[in-house]
Structures are given as C-alpha cells and as structure tokens.
Symmetry: D3
Subunit: 237 residues, 6 copies
Amino acid sequence: MRPSGRNLSELRPISIETGVTKHAEGSCLIKMGDTHVLCTATIEDRPPSFLKGTGLGWVTAEYGMLPRATNTRNRREAATGKQGGRTVEIQRLIGRALRAGVDRVALGERQIVVDCDVIQADGGTRCASITGGWVALRLAVNKLMKAGVCTSDPLLDHVAAISCGIYAGQPVCDLDYAEDSEAGTDGNFIMTGAGKLIEVQMSAEGATFSRGQMNELLDLAEAGVAELVKAQKAATE
Amino acid sequence: MRPSGRNLSELRPISIETGVTKHAEGSCLIKMGDTHVLCTATIEDRPPSFLKGTGLGWVTAEYGMLPRATNTRNRREAATGKQGGRTVEIQRLIGRALRAGVDRVALGERQIVVDCDVIQADGGTRCASITGGWVALRLAVNKLMKAGVCTSDPLLDHVAAISCGIYAGQPVCDLDYAEDSEAGTDGNFIMTGAGKLIEVQMSAEGATFSRGQMNELLDLAEAGVAELVKAQKAATE
Amino acid sequence: MRPSGRNLSELRPISIETGVTKHAEGSCLIKMGDTHVLCTATIEDRPPSFLKGTGLGWVTAEYGMLPRATNTRNRREAATGKQGGRTVEIQRLIGRALRAGVDRVALGERQIVVDCDVIQADGGTRCASITGGWVALRLAVNKLMKAGVCTSDPLLDHVAAISCGIYAGQPVCDLDYAEDSEAGTDGNFIMTGAGKLIEVQMSAEGATFSRGQMNELLDLAEAGVAELVKAQKAATE
Amino acid sequence: MRPSGRNLSELRPISIETGVTKHAEGSCLIKMGDTHVLCTATIEDRPPSFLKGTGLGWVTAEYGMLPRATNTRNRREAATGKQGGRTVEIQRLIGRALRAGVDRVALGERQIVVDCDVIQADGGTRCASITGGWVALRLAVNKLMKAGVCTSDPLLDHVAAISCGIYAGQPVCDLDYAEDSEAGTDGNFIMTGAGKLIEVQMSAEGATFSRGQMNELLDLAEAGVAELVKAQKAATE
Amino acid sequence: MRPSGRNLSELRPISIETGVTKHAEGSCLIKMGDTHVLCTATIEDRPPSFLKGTGLGWVTAEYGMLPRATNTRNRREAATGKQGGRTVEIQRLIGRALRAGVDRVALGERQIVVDCDVIQADGGTRCASITGGWVALRLAVNKLMKAGVCTSDPLLDHVAAISCGIYAGQPVCDLDYAEDSEAGTDGNFIMTGAGKLIEVQMSAEGATFSRGQMNELLDLAEAGVAELVKAQKAATE
Amino acid sequence: MRPSGRNLSELRPISIETGVTKHAEGSCLIKMGDTHVLCTATIEDRPPSFLKGTGLGWVTAEYGMLPRATNTRNRREAATGKQGGRTVEIQRLIGRALRAGVDRVALGERQIVVDCDVIQADGGTRCASITGGWVALRLAVNKLMKAGVCTSDPLLDHVAAISCGIYAGQPVCDLDYAEDSEAGTDGNFIMTGAGKLIEVQMSAEGATFSRGQMNELLDLAEAGVAELVKAQKAATE
C-alpha cells in the first residue's frame, strides 16, 4: 500500500497553469500533487559564445529551490556562495533533456534559458521541472514562430519525465517524498511524446537491482509519461 | 497623471493570501498590483550564536528574486557566487524593520527566519516584503502561542511599509515600476500599526528635495500604511 | 549629559588635511574627533561600460576599514573573501550622495572613484566619508578644470553628512561611538551646501520614533551640515 | 569499424597496478587503453558528522583531472575557485557506486575517501575511476581487516563500471574518446561482481533511443563488467 | 647616479611615529621616504587552534595596500574576492620574519596579529612592514610585560629588513620604486639586531647574478639594517 | 648522520622519464627519491593580454598536489575554493625561475604553461618542479624549433633547483621530508647550467643563521645543481 493510497501505476494529480508571470516569454506553474515548480522560459537574442557563427541555437536550464520549499529550511544557495552538487546535477539534466527535443538549426542562433524554481517540494522536483520546463519552452517558441523569427518549428516532439521506483518491494510510478526517501531503487525516465527514450537514470542507494525490475519500471514510466504528455497538450494547445 | 491612472494617494490593489505552502510555520503570497512576493517564516529552536544564554530571541530576513521576476532576466545570485549589494541592503532592512515590532524577551531564545522571494516584480518589492513578511511572522508566532511555547505575545504591533515619491512633480503613494524608474526623489517608510515611524529612507538619485516635500510624502505614507495594516488584519484575524 | 561633555548641538572638533598622499588626484584626511578617514579621488579616463557613448560621467565610491580601526580587531574583508553587508551598504550610500552634487554632463565620459578608508573609528564613519570624500572629489575636479578637460564646473554644490540621534532621551548632533551604541533612534542626513536634502536615513533598532522627534533631528542636522560645509570651504579654497 | 579496430564487444587493454604511492592505505593506477587514473583510498578514523553515534561508516569519492590530461589544456579547478558541474556530478556518482558494495555496519564509524585523479584521458574516465577506485578501497579495507579493526568484511561484492553506446549505428563496448565524442546515445553501467545493477545512466545528447537498443547495450555491459571484475580479482588476490 | 641622488649605501629618511591609533595594543606609522606603512599589533587571548594546549604562542601578520597607495589605482582585494598572490606571499614573509625574533614559550598561549597597511607606496613596502611591524609588536609586548602577563621578555632581539639590488650596474641599498622597477637583481634581507640572518630572498627577474654580487648586497644590507635597528630603538626606548 | 644514510652532499637518486603523457607538447615524470612530480608543458598560441603587440612571449607555471601525495590527506584545493598561500607562492617561484632562462623575444608572442603536479611528496617538491618543469619546457620548445616556429633557441640555459639546509647542526644537500621538517635553516637555490644564481631563498623558521653557514649551503647547492643539470641533459639530448 502506498502512503498516499494511490495504485501502483497511479500518478499524482497533475495541474499545469500557463502564463503565470507577465514578464517571461513562456511560463507555467506545474503541480504534481504537492510538488509545485514555477517554470519560465527567456529568449535571448545571442547564443552562448561557443556557438557564435555556427547557425545553431541552444537551450539551457537553471534550477533552484526556495529556502522553505522543504520540510526543514535549506540555506539559500546565493548566501552559501555556490550552487550545491545536487543543484548542478539537476540543472544539467534538465538542459540535456530539453535539448533532445529541439531542432537547433530551426531555432537559429539564439538561446532559450528555462528557469525551474521549486516553490514547494514533495518528491520528483527534477521530473516536474522537465515536464513543466518543456511547456514554458513550447510557449516561448510559439512566440518566435508567431513573430516569424522561426519559420519551421524548432520543437521536434514533447519531452516529459517521471520517476519510478521499488517501494516496499513493489514497482510504483511517480514517487512522492514519503516513497522516495524509503525506496532502495529508483529512476528518472525522460521520454519523448513518441515514446522514445532520452535519458534513463536508475540508481540504487546502498542496494542493487535486476534487469527484470528495470523492465517493470520502464513499463510504468512509459505509461506515466504518456499521461504527462496529454497534460502538456491540454495546457499548450 | 499616473501611468496606471491611479489618484496620487491611491495604492495598488492589495491581496494577501495566507497558508500558501504546506511546510512553513507561517506563509503568505502578497500582491501589490503586479508585484508578487512569497513570504515564509521558519521557526528555529536555536538563536544565533551571539544570543546564546541571553534569554533573547531574534528575527532575521532573507530576500531573493526569481531570475525572470523582472522584465529582462537577472542572473541567478547562486550562480554568480554571491548576493549582490542591493539584495544585502534589502534583507538587512527587512530584518531591522520586523525586529522593531518584536518583544525579544517574550520570543525567548529562538530565531524566526523570514524569507521573502519575489515571484514577479513591478516596483516596491522591499516594502511588499516587509508588509507580507510581517504576516508570515504573525502566523508563525501564533503557532508558538497556541503551543504554549510563548506565553505573552512577542509581537508588539503591526509593521508595514510603503514607498512614496515625487513623480512628474507631484507626490504619489505606492510607486510602481514605471513611476519608480522616473522618480528623482523617493522614499521607503516603515511604520507600526499605531503610526509610529520605524525607518525612513529618502533618497534623491541625482537630485535634491526640501523638507516641505518630505512632509508631503510622510503624509501620504501614513495613510498608505494604515491601509496596509487593515489588509494585514484581514489576512490574519 | 553627553559622554564627551559636548552640548546637544555641538559637533566634534573637525580637521580636514588635504594633499595627504602623493599619488591621488585628490586626497584628504578628515578627522571628526577620534574618527579618522583617509579619502582619495582617482580620475579614470573611461566611464563604466554602461555609460559608453552617452556623454555622461560617473562618480562611485568604495569604503574600507583597517582591521584595527576599531576597539576589537575586525577580520580583513580581503581575507574573508567578500565585502560584508555593512560595507556594501555604506559605499553605495557614499556614491549616491556624491553623485547628487555632480553635473554628469559637465564631467563628461570619465569616472572618478572615491576611496574612503577608515584609519580609526569612533562613530559616524560613513558621514565623515561623505564629507571628506567630497573634498577629495573637489580637489580632483579642480585638476580637471585647471587642465581644461572640463570647461564648466561638474560640481553643483557641496555635499556633506552628519548623524543625529536620540541619546538618553535627548536629540544630539554628531554621535560618537559611545552615543551611537546606546541610541535607539538615529539617522544620517546628507545635504547640499544650499541646505537641500539628498538622503535621509532614519532608523530605530528595536524602537520607534515620532514625526516630532524626526523634525528635531532634522533641525540639528541642518545646523551641523552648515558647519561641515564651512570646514570643506576652508580646506578647498 | 571502430577507430581503434576493436570488435564491437572488445574492451581496451586493462592494466591495474597496485601500491603505486607509499602514503595511501590503498592505491592503484588503472589504465583502460590511454585512459589512466590514479586511485587512492584514505582511511579516516572519524565518520562524517551526520553519522556520529550511528555505528555506520561512509565511503565517499573525489574526482580530479590534471590540467593537461586532455588534448587541450583545461583550467585548473583550484584556480577557477570551484569544482565544475561535470566534476561534481562524477564524484557523486563514484561515491554512490562504491557505497552500493559496502556493508556500512561492518565498516563501523569511520570514513574511507577514494580520490580518483585522471593523469591522462581518452574517454571513460568515470568508469575507470569506479573500477580502479574499488581496487584502492579493497586494499585499504584489507588493512583494516588485517589489523582486526573490522572483523567481518565490509565489502559485499566487487563494483565495476563500463560505458557502452551506439557508435556509427552499432552498439559498442568501452568507448574511447574518438567514439564517445561521436556517439549520439551512450550509457554508463555500474554492476556488482554477481552481475546485479547498481546504476544505469543512459543519455542521448540531441537524440533518442529505443528499449531494444537499451537492451543491446546492457548485454554488452554485462560481459564487459565481468571482464573488469576478473582484472580486479587478479590485482587484489 | 641614483634617481634620488642618494649615495649607493644611503637609506631614505626614516621616520617611526608610535601610538598612532588609540585602539591597538601597539602601533606605529613607519616612513621610509615616500613609503608609508601603518602597523598595528593586536593581542588575542587565544592562540590559533593548532597550538591549543601546547603552551606556545604565535605571531602572525596580515598585509594590505590602500587602493590608491600606488601611482595607478589598484582594485580593492575585498572587492575582487580574494587576496592576490603577492599579498599572500608578503604577509607570510612578515609573519615568519617576526616569529624568528620571538620566544614562543615566554609569549605563552596567545596570539599577536600584526597588521601592516600601506598608506603610500614607493618601493620596499614589505621591508618597511617588517621593520615597523616589529615596533608595533614591541609596544604590544611591553603592555603584556607591564601587566605581568609575561614575566620574561618574549622578544629575543630586533627584527628589521632592507632591500638591496643591482641598479644601473651598481649595488644600491634601500631601493625606491624608480630603482626597483629597473633593477634586474634585487633581494630582501631580514636580520636581527645582532646581525644574524633570518631570511634572504634574492631574485633576478629575467636575469642572473653571481656570488660576488650577492656578497656585495649582503654587505650593504648589514649596514642598512643596523641603521634601521637604531631607529627602532629610538622609537621604542 | 642523515635519516636516509646519505652523505652530507649526496643527492637522492634522480630519475627523469620524458614523454609520459600523450597530449602535452612536453612532459616528464621527475623523481627525486620518493618525491615524484609530473610536469607538462602546454604551448598556447596567444600570449597573456598584457603582452599583446609587444613581440614578447611568456612562460608561466601552475603547481598542484594530489590529495594523498602526503602522509595525511590534504583537502583538494578545488574543493576548498581557492589555492592556498603555499601553492600560490610556489607556482610564482617556478614561473619566475623558468623565465630567467628564457629569451622572450626568441619565443615570440606565445605562452607556455608548465604544470607541475606532485604525485607523491617527500620534501623538495618545489625544487623538483623547477628541475622537471625545465625538462618539459625544453621538450615543448624543441617542437617549436623543429616546426620552424622559433628560429633561434628561446632557452638560454638550463634552470634547476635544489634545497639545502642545516640539519642536526650540519649542512646537507637535497633535504627529504624527515630532514626538512627538522631543519631550522634551509634554502632553495635556483641556478643556471653555467652556475649563475637566479633565485636564493633562505629562511630560518624560528631561528637565525650566519653568512658562513650561508656560504656552506651555497657550495653544496652549486655541486647539487650541477648534477641535476647533467640529469636534464641525459633526459633531453
């Protein structure tokens, strides 16, 4: 039995509210249950310096967490003087994931920065950031296309992510914090709308897992991502 | 004529929504027009080290701004490796302001950290942070009193703040960004519920002002703060 | 009775010695009683990058304190790896204050950096820095005018600053450390030679004050600044 | 055809030389072809502070690369003032991987720090660090057991890692730099001596992959890790 | 001919004014011609942590330079975020030099911090810092002895330093900036009052020197330090 | 009697293996007994910015130590966030020393960076870095000459360094760690192949020394450096 009473394959309630800040070119507040992430996309006319003159664009991401997004207060990274290892790891993951769905030639020599800031955390913040980050990116790209800056669509497909893991001996989908902190094995699965894999990160802190278990989690992830993609469509179309 | 069409003494629409995050001991989302600040109060059992053994409590504040809270994206302070001068100045101001309304003996040897994070900025973020920060503090202190940890109320009075300035030659109250960026003279006025002054910061970037103008702004500020205090009462009682 | 035996409105002995370092374009050692600040002005041919091509000049300030300027040794900021919040706040204040007296068109596209380094501290270091900083600035600008680089005087008026506060229930002028550390309410008042206000910063750490008290302090400040301006004139004419 | 002329499933020549520094409790120089990593294990009597009084031990890792380990010189991280995102990500991975093979009760309240420093890089440095790091760890733990400090073996099984990817449309094992920089999809596979999975990190920079491809890479990885474990045994038994 | 017209062995005018700040336990302003250094000594009751329980004391030094002590303004180290390599090198040298003259048993478990801040620079600031730093140290130690905290004198002998170099082919003593910036070979010679050597640092930027030249410089240094020691005596006795 | 049983003037066994990494333009692993330093030289087409347009080249050095190069593990400087004072001092010394043997006109507008990384430390790492760094530099310069980029040899002479000190009352050459940690007086002597001095750094931590002792150490150093130069020749010719 899951702490939330959900079925093994049941996601938390998904809500994606778009246009939540007046300044950003694209934005949404994504809620996966009690995990709330504010995602904004900023269009910058200039690409990063390593792409000058290549004709290619770039999508990058930054991740942050408000100090009291968690049960006990975390020290503000701006005050500690650097982004922690976990933050760096997550924002690199988000950036790679989103780029996998981007036609960088069609985007042209510009950069889109996706900021994912966790307002409230209850597990799965990096997955919610990817799923919500894609929505913010989609909305910003829509502006580029409407303005005629991009003529063919730079977004090749949806990108969404879900965590699955072995909780109390059973494979479960979309872990919340209570499950995540107990699960020996869990993974983040990033996929496209067409069901192709972009990134798989399975890890067993202080434990191991078999290929059979891995396949069970992949089955759950495929179904979960399909639901997320539906929610992305509802929010952006 | 003000850009927003407001009267000289008219505040922007005020909204204070409490209980907006499930983890913090006190929280609110304060909106002064398009300026939105998320305020949380965290109770820490231990006071800062310089107060150990004194019997006195402490209230401190931290301030942050999401990268795309503004019209053009600001670099994340966690990424630049330090809090900028403006951030440091503002969070010191918020902390001093809130402490002016606190009976530190009644609070006892503990610390309350008030985090003010600007979700969307349109001028007056430091004042909104103080006004909203007090609400979060009030709610956290209510928990201490309900739990019997504090027996007499550590909060002596309301604390709220408003900015006023000379815009297009006329004294106006609660400047938005369009006004703030044009005003030669402006000030932040922090007051108690009883109308006493806690802090006055008047400044004229590249200009000067007279005592007469100063008094006009103080008149506006007194009326403005009275309205804010009403909104604080509505939100917390 | 004030600890120093001074009258309520009496300033400490003022001394402004100019030309104290052979390298700087302008310099002075200002002494307000036991508070000693070395002020130097450096002319830089290039303005800060945000002013390139605008025809406007810039005046900025930096503030420092020798480790043993105070009663107990302070850790060197260069060793701690960053300027503390207090330092940042003060040097921003000095810069804003001095710029209020500058005609940035007449200055032309160049920058003057005013360094204020506290050799010995006994309260009121930021006010002494402004008053002495203006003298260093005046001397550096004199060189620009003598060399014909500036044809009309870029300095519009004197800028000087004084602190006043409520000590032992009474309004007093030019607080020394013994008074400053006891005063519930105090303020820094920055004014021009013509008696106009540039910046007012009144603050009550853990207390409040009334408009009546505020006016008493302003009266003291006006008289005090007038004396400082006289000393600036004696030093620079 | 692979650039090196290897078969699809063929690893580079493996060499593990132990006892390469006189100071460390365990050490080896692992060579996977032209990738050379010096691994040392340091036993510290005290566990990290979060484990005080729990009876549990800890294994952690740090990763570095000499400035000219690569084809063009990299700036020294000590000079840039922080460890880059890639470094942080890698050393967290090495630490997690090694801990998966550790019985932290048997280790007792102490910490073993495994340092992996890349002397020469030609692809696959993080996998070589894990495989070589385990050898250094094994040797250090042998000392603890010989000294009677640990009575049952804190190491549950071998831990080794291999990278596999899709190069020129074909699944290949143990990518070198020439392959790694071209491969759209690749992964790091960390396993135990018994063939259980500890961590799977598959990623497609700017591309996607199918479950079929994923299974092919897992097959290669299983065979590759088995060879590495043999080499670990030869080096430590 | 030296730029200043001095003889080859002639020092610049020496002035050592003591008691220049009211807070420090010992202080002086040393002037070697146009090189002016403010030296203060601070007594701290606790030794550095690595000496706890050993009965031994410690003397350490810090070095700084005001931004406009030099001909062109130097960026403030507190603003750049760290002490530069030159600063670190110099303050380590000053500390080592002073400790060579200290009986650390007689000093007892306490630390004396000597701050040397260059007010105006014209070559030889590190040597002036050592010579003046010793005077500040002497005065602070006198207080400890007068108070009976130390019963035997912790200072074994004078410590003073002079720079000598080959300028325009001739050995000269006490180089000023004009000479220092031209000299291919120069050195800093730190000696005791009894004429013993503490530290010799000879260096030839882009050149070499012979043992004969080295001996000529040592002869000059011996005579120069003897004069400095006389000045120290005059200032402290 | 020396701990190692060596004669007073006897160096440790010297080994210089060249070509130890495939990427660097020049490289060697120098071993002075148990002190092992990996030296690489990197040719950069552009000189440092302060030399743009001067026609002059530059040679600089960086120094590092693996965390477990020493008997107890040192914290990684990349993790502490800055290079320590000792590191900065050493790498400045290495750079100065090597430049003394360089004809910067013949080198032309380019930079060679010499990295010296201590793999295992047993005293004398800075001297070994200079001696080995010169070999790496020689090999890199050979490439420039072979390629016709430099037409006359930019290296004027050999540069090598040895430490000598007073151990147990006797002058000894090439101190190992056991001697170095006991020696009251020691020095680093950097010389050319022709026996000219480049830099002499003699220092007495908590002690003093005479000119007679200094001359004895210089005699030892001259003989020692001559041996090192022979080893450099054997390695590079």
